[in-house]
């Protein structure tokens, strides 16, 4: 039986009593059609924020079109921690009339985002809008742009200047970011800087600043998307080859690595399909070179048979799986956590597999390189699960620990006598020879085999050998299980309510818990990054608590895994409309679940 789904359309949204918190953060949204430069404008603002030492979370709302449609890019910045896209909207930069109407209209609550509470910056040529409660700040964006450049999109830069003026941000950092963005080609950068400057001054002369108290001027931070963080983590982990077929939202990692292949001495390849991609990555690992593949659910489905082969041949392989809503093509540009059953059950038979799910960009970096070491150590498939929300949005990261020692696992010495590729050992791990090693020739076989790699499934079927080798392989999982780090928790010491989450919902769950705590509800979070096998410490953490599982899918796939591993009663809080949870909404859903 599935837990009854909560109707997220009728959620009581909880907002913070602490108004100071809202004054210490700002949410800026750039809205327009695809092709209007929404994302580029948003990236500039994000960079201005992180260079000012602010914490940043962005949210990218886009559609499956190359041009047209409606998209928006939101930047939440604060000197306090920001762990989700947040609730509320302070500054709207509307690049077209539709954008202005949508984001000021409480009836069109797109993706669960809040309507504008602050100012709207738009070109004064847009006049035929229906006025609502927002503060309208029409500006001569196109007119100013035309003074500085022949390129119409420069009006976006003018609007950025105006928005930064409303927050009282030092213009010199805005100018630096614009210069870095447009580069040294011709005078494009300087045209944009002067256009932004005039937008900045014009706003200051015409309109009052927003009532915000952002502490700027702190140490700059990194701005990373989850997809980039996976790529960086992979290279930090010693990756030499990335072979993948394009599929949103896993492609951001592919694009990042392809663009940096030269810099990182990396082999990057798009082959004919995902089947080829994973077989190639397995082939490279077999030959002793760290290689990875990545895709979303559709592509991962094609990789399923080869994943089992890696399990059988005991070849390390890391697969980056970034989820989007299914089934089938589903919603290519939206988010969901609906592939856990697929990844857990991928391929016939039993074999050790390990599933990791980072909760933010920094964890995407650390867990990907950890995955490479785990795969080599246990000679087994490791799947790093992310989703569109985590893969495609940028967030600030304070810094990354770049020191790392690759662990290539047990390897035999050249010419070792009586070499057995699948030597039966206590921990199930056998020394792995790679081709080119002197005298260690052997066969690795997808048919069941003995210690030497010789087939025992055909003419010489031997049930005892089958049992011995099967148990050897499965022992690797037990050996790994004992190394899983203690499960993370948040505000958990005095909690009566345990909110269990996995993957990308980590930040929003923490913010929802803060909101619930303001209302006297003693909730805390259990934050699962090592999804399979689960750390047995979770059972103890959940004992005696009201347990609520939060995840982004219909049936509660993680909830079911949790209940299959531990004797625990849970209530599922889920969402599957394609958008990520919002903190106020999630707090309301959890509150509802506690009452039920």
């Amino acid at each position: 039986m599935y837990v009854k789904n909560i109707d997220y359309r009728e959620i009581h949204i909880i907002s913070s009593h602490n108004l100071a918190v809202r004054e210490e953060e700002t949410i800026v949204r750039v809205a327009g059609a695809a092709g209007d430069g929404v994302q580029s404008a948003g990236m500039i603002i994000s960079k201005v924020f992180v260079r000012n030492g602010l914490n940043v979370m962005t949210y990218n709302y886009y559609q499956d079109v190359i041009r047209g449609g409606q998209s928006w890019y939101q930047i939440r910045g604060s000197h306090n921690p920001v762990r989700s896209q947040g609730d509320g909207l302070d500054i709207l930069i509307a690049l077209n009339r539709d954008g202005l109407e949508r984001h000021t209209n409480p009836e069109i609550n797109e993706g669960g985002a809040s309507p504008l509470e602050g100012i709207a910056i738009f070109d004064q040529g847009i006049t035929d809008y229906s006025p609502r409660s927002a503060r309208y700040c029409p500006m001569p964006l196109a007119e100013i742009a035309a003074k500085h450049s022949k390129v119409a999109l420069v009006k976006n830069t003018v609007a950025i200047g105006a928005a930064m003026a409303s927050l009282g941000i030092d213009f010199s950092i805005v100018a630096d970011v614009i210069r870095d963005t447009f580069g040294t080609k011709g005078n494009v950068a300087e045209q944009n800087v002067s256009a932004a400057k005039e937008g900045y001054e014009t706003y200051k002369a015409k309109y009052p600043p927003l009532n915000k108290r952002l502490k700027t001027g702190g140490k700059g931070k990194l701005l990373l998307s989850g997809g980039e963080a996976v790529g960086l983590g992979a290279v930090s982990g010693g990756l030499k080859m990335y072979i993948a077929y394009p599929m949103t939202p896993a492609s951001s990692c592919l694009h990042f690595l392809a663009a940096h292949a030269k810099q990182y001495d990396l082999f990057v390849k798009i082959p004919e399909d995902e089947i080829s991609a994973i077989n190639m990555a397995i082939g490279a690992n077999y030959a002793g070179v760290r290689a990875m593949t990545g895709s979303s659910g559709g592509g991962f489905s094609l990789m399923v048979e080869a994943l089992g082969m890696a399990g059988m041949l005991e070849i390390p392989i890391v697969v980056y799986e970034s989820q989007r809503p299914g089934p089938s093509t589903g919603i290519p540009t939206k988010t969901e956590q609906g592939d856990l059953n697929l990844v857990l059950g991928a391929s016939q038979g039993d074999f050790p597999r390990i599933i990791l799910a980072p909760g933010d960009a920094a964890q995407s970096f650390y867990l990907t390189r950890e995955a490479l070491n785990i795969a080599d150590t246990y000679q087994a498939p490791v799947i790093v699960m992310s989703d569109l929300y985590l893969s495609e949005h940028e967030e600030s990261v304070d810094g990354l620990d770049l020191s790392f020692t690759p662990d290539y696992g047990k390897r035999p010495g050249d010419g070792e006598a009586n070499y057995r590729r699948y030597l039966i050992t206590d921990d199930g791990i056998s020394p792995r020879a790679v081709p080119g090693q002197e005298g260690l020739m052997h066969n690795e076989d997808s048919d069941e085999h003995d210690e030497y790699g010789n087939v025992v499934s055909d003419a010489e079927t031997d049930p005892r050998k089958r049992v011995a080798i099967m148990e050897k392989r499965m022992r690797k999982l037990e050996a790994y299980r004992s190394t899983i780090p203690a499960t993370d928790t948040y505000r958990f010491d005095d909690a009566d309510v345990a909110v269990v989450q996995w993957g990308s919902t980590r930040g929003v769950v923490e913010e929802a818990i803060d909101l619930l705590r303001e209302r006297g509800i003693r909730a805390g979070a259990v934050e699962v990054t090592h999804v399979f096998p689960l750390n047995s410490d979770i059972e103890k953490l959940l004992k005696g608590k009201k347990v609520i599982v939060v995840e982004g899918n219909y049936t509660g796939q993680f909830n079911r895994l949790l209940k299959s591993e531990f004797p625990v009663d849970t209530v599922l809080v889920n969402k599957f409309n394609g958008e990520a949870f919002y903190p106020g909404e999630l707090a309301g859903m959890i509150q509802g679940a506690i009452r039920n």
Binding site: L232, S236, S276, N279, M280, A284, A306, M309, P435
Partner: protein
Amino acid sequence: MITVKDYEGSVKPDWCPACGNFAQLSAIKGSLTELGVSPSNAVVVSGIGCSSNLPEFIRAYGFHGIHGRSLPVASAIKWANPKLTVIAYGGDGDGFFEGTQHFFHTAKRNVDITYIVSDNQVFGLTTGQASPTAQLGYVSKSTPEGNIEKPINPLTFALAAGATFVARGFSGDPKHLQDLVKKGIQHKGFSFIDVLSPCVTFNKTNTYDFFRKRVYRYESPDTGDFMAAYKKCEEWGDRIPIGLLYESIQETYEEKDPVYRKGPIIESPYRGITPQDLQEFL
């Protein structure tokens, strides 16, 4: 000094007596020996099928993977360590049904590996269904009324894909076959050898006698003439040419990818991420 004995596997082949695969196993072992390739540097990758069991029967690095997928595995092994001699091996069902897209694209990429197909026009391991090269009218378990699908021509397919070495051998002419395999391994780039290989158990049509009557050794006057080669590859019926039909020397994939400028990937040291690498994210 490498001898054929060095390639002698500990497991005896489980193929039917007189199976065409024996001649190919022998040709592969003989060619590697003649070329002085150490078994430590030889890798044989296969898919699934009777012929694909071969890696178990040779003392080299063997990779017996899954149906149709030998070529991606073999390509990446070569990419990871270009010093290895990599041979992909399998049957016509494996290569021309499930492996079709890999065959096409591996040929197009000109990866420096050798692909040998034991082409017996039938599925052996699954006990006798029509394969993609089964002749029209061929009666099998899957086509009791006779095959109504035209067979594919692996040679013209390889040519169309851009293969730089296309040859046909015959298991009934092992000396000639070994010479082709040797040439294929020596060829810089993707070499494809389709081997007419009678299945003595399930194919009662395309027998040794059938081929002996038709097959003739063909010496191309100009192996670089693509159109002439294409035409020759289409010859099938009373007379079937065997031999090297097309060869051209072109840059391999490995020669084109700039990553190899610093040497083989397997020898490249751990790089990691440096603080300078993070500058662009500030």
